[in-house]
């Protein structure tokens, strides 16, 4: 569970790092990713791997459109109008899926099958292990991508200052498109993993607030932070629900988040908050 939050949080962090956008539609994109994957399997009858690749590609396309419609016109407008427009997109998507996919939830088979393995006496679904591996793999990929590749640097430059990035010869609109494509592709991956656990329905979009919580615990803007934060939130809610009271499940996660932030306001990996004067 924690890793699903982590994957969703990674998308949020990514788009914040590279476009300065706090994306309230990320939960809905995860949901859409799951729907698309389901269709690839059910309608197009693709094999699992093919379906995943197709879904990721389709979602990247969705990201390009999303960017064009809801972000690009607002790229100079500051953070809040963009937040509102992503909220609009999420309302649109959460209800729009009914039109295409009907109101029944769908079932997406787990990519790692429904088997379990037993480690130290507890049985763990293979799917959960696959999610964890995926999250860690993506983590390393992103670390490499942002710190070592020119494309990663260019994307970050655009996030920090678009006009100046253009003056460096960076194709700003192309970078923004890449960024959104990448983060919606991440959403698709999160959706593919979340689908079997959550079932494919607009309910998936609700992981948004947990993903936010995860990204903040980890230190907003930090990719490893998103992963660690996701695991943290997942663990806290499971343990809180088990040992204290299951009814307050969400409260444990958020309560501890708040407590945590009071002692470490910048999250785990966040830079201490300060600014140059």
């Amino acid at each position: 569970m924690g890793f699903v939050y982590a994957l969703s949080a990674m998308g949020i962090v990514l788009i914040y790092r590279t476009a300065g956008v706090v994306n309230f539609a990320q939960g809905s994109l995860v949901m859409l990713g799951a729907y698309v994957a389901t269709s690839c399997i059910e309608t197009l009858k693709l094999p699992m791997i093919g379906a995943i690749i197709a879904a990721v590609i389709i979602m990247a396309g969705v990201g390009a459109v999303f960017q064009r419609v809801a972000y690009y016109p607002l790229r100079y407008a500051g953070i809040i109008p963009v937040v509102i427009s992503t909220i609009g997109v999420s309302v649109f998507l959460n209800n729009g899926v009914y039109v295409i996919w009907g109101t029944y939830p769908k079932f997406l088979p787990p990519i790692a099958g429904s088997g379990t393995i037993t480690i130290f006496g507890t049985s763990i679904p293979l799917q959960n292990i696959a999610i964890a591996l995926m999250a860690v793999a993506l983590l390393f990929f992103q670390a490499y991508f942002f710190n070592k590749t020119w494309l990663g640097k260019k994307m970050q430059a655009v996030a920090q200052h678009q006009d100046t990035a253009a003056l460096m010869g960076i194709k700003v609109s192309r970078m923004i498109t890449f960024t959104f494509m990448y983060s919606t592709a991440l959403a698709a991956i999160a959706g593919i993993f979340a689908g079997p656990i959550f079932f494919v329905s607009p309910g998936i979009a609700q992981i948004l607030s947990k993903a936010f919580a995860a990204s903040v615990v980890g230190g907003f803007g930090s990719v490893p932070g998103a992963v660690v934060g996701g695991i943290f939130v997942g663990l806290v809610e499971t343990f809180g629900a088990y040992f204290i009271s299951s009814a307050y499940r969400d409260a444990w996660a958020f309560g501890l988040l708040i407590l945590f932030l009071l002692f470490r306001p910048q999250g785990i990996f966040g830079e201490p908050i300060s600014e140059k004067v």
Partner: protein, 327 residues
């Protein structure tokens, strides 16, 4: 002089129309929508103080709404408090909660960290309302909250309740205008624009952040109390994150930081979905699209459009700069 007279005239005309509005609106349904819209307007006005004036992204408005409506509802149902007591009691109690929440979180948390904390507060409040059964009666909700009565005056119908909504909205919106143009309001706006510069100019940033938070809680609590008496039944499942997002959209689409912003935004986002009802299952989709379109074409909010060009530019410029801030 002429334009000023014209403005006064429009205001008076609008006042007269608002005063006699129930006469023109026979339908109980439309009156209900107007009353609910009024309550949203109060919530959005409260958010305007914390987000619009002080620049702190907060989702707590809906939690305050819940706390206020439960306070008023429980006082009225269990202790038989009259309307004139339940509403202030709810507003002040909620303000106190806001104050207590603000103390720890506003001292340290910045920007998005604060926003997520407030999202957490919304979830926690809802869970408490739902699970603290001995106090709130839990998920069953609280039925039988009486309609308002002030002495011999009774406000049983939607048309009668309208006057309570009208007066509350008027007073509370007017109050935001008074705050905005006062020393305190200037301090808040300075914090929004640049909290460090405000601090070195002698503004006790922390104090005014907490104050703004408390005021917005007061608004939320008051709106909640009115809601409880309007609907007569409250339950925890109303006060969700989605509603918090709705209030945020109302303010932003109306124009944050502007006095008329909540008025326009709440009106619009209450009317549009009702108006879209004929689209049946497509209404929410179109509503979502409408929100995107409004954000894209009116990034400074609808009311913002009436501002002179250069002022709008300056507003955009300032928010863009914040966005660009430190990495």
């Amino acid at each position: 002089m002429a334009p000023k007279n014209a403005k006064t005239f429009t205001l008076i005309a609008a006042g007269v129309v608002l005063l006699f509005l129930p006469k023109f609106i026979p339908s109980n349904y439309q009156m209900t929508v107007i009353n609910l819209g009024g309550i949203y307007m109060i919530l959005a006005a409260g958010l305007n103080v914390i987000l619009g004036f002080t620049g702190l992204m907060s989702f707590t408005q809906v939690a305050f709404w819940g706390i206020g409506s439960y306070t008023a509802g429980l006082l009225a149902v269990e202790h038989g408090f009259p309307f004139l007591l339940t509403v202030p009691a709810a507003a002040f109690l909620t303000a106190a909660v806001g104050f207590l929440l603000g103390l720890p979180s506003l001292r340290k948390l910045k920007k998005f960290y604060l926003a997520v904390t407030t999202i957490g507060f919304v979830h926690i409040t809802r869970l408490i309302l739902e699970n603290w059964t001995s106090l709130t009666r839990g998920a069953d909700g609280l039925p039988g909250i009486p309609k308002p009565a002030i002495g011999p005056l009774r406000f049983d119908t939607m048309h009668e309740f309208y006057y309570i909504t009208l007066i509350s909205c008027f007073l509370l919106i007017w109050l935001t205008a008074v705050i905005k143009n006062s020393r305190v309001g200037r301090a808040m706006q300075a914090i929004r624009e640049d909290d460090l510069a405000a601090e070195v100019m002698g503004v006790n940033v922390f104090k005014y952040k907490v104050l703004a938070f408390t005021i917005s809680a007061f608004y939320g609590g008051l709106g909640g109390a009115l809601y409880a008496h309007l609907v007569g039944y409250i339950s925890p499942d109303i006060f969700t994150f989605e509603e918090a997002v709705t209030v945020l959209c109302m303010l932003m689409i109306g124009g944050s930081g502007l006095i008329a912003g909540p008025v326009v935004g709440a009106t619009l986002l209450t009317v549009i979905p009702e108006w879209l009802r004929f689209m049946q299952e497509y209404n929410a989709i179109i509503y979502g699209a409408a929100v995107v379109v409004m954000a894209v074409y009116m990034p400074t909010g609808l009311v913002g459009l009436t501002q002179p060009y250069w002022r709008r530019l300056a507003v955009l410029f300032s928010s863009a700069k914040k966005n660009g801030g430190t990495g």
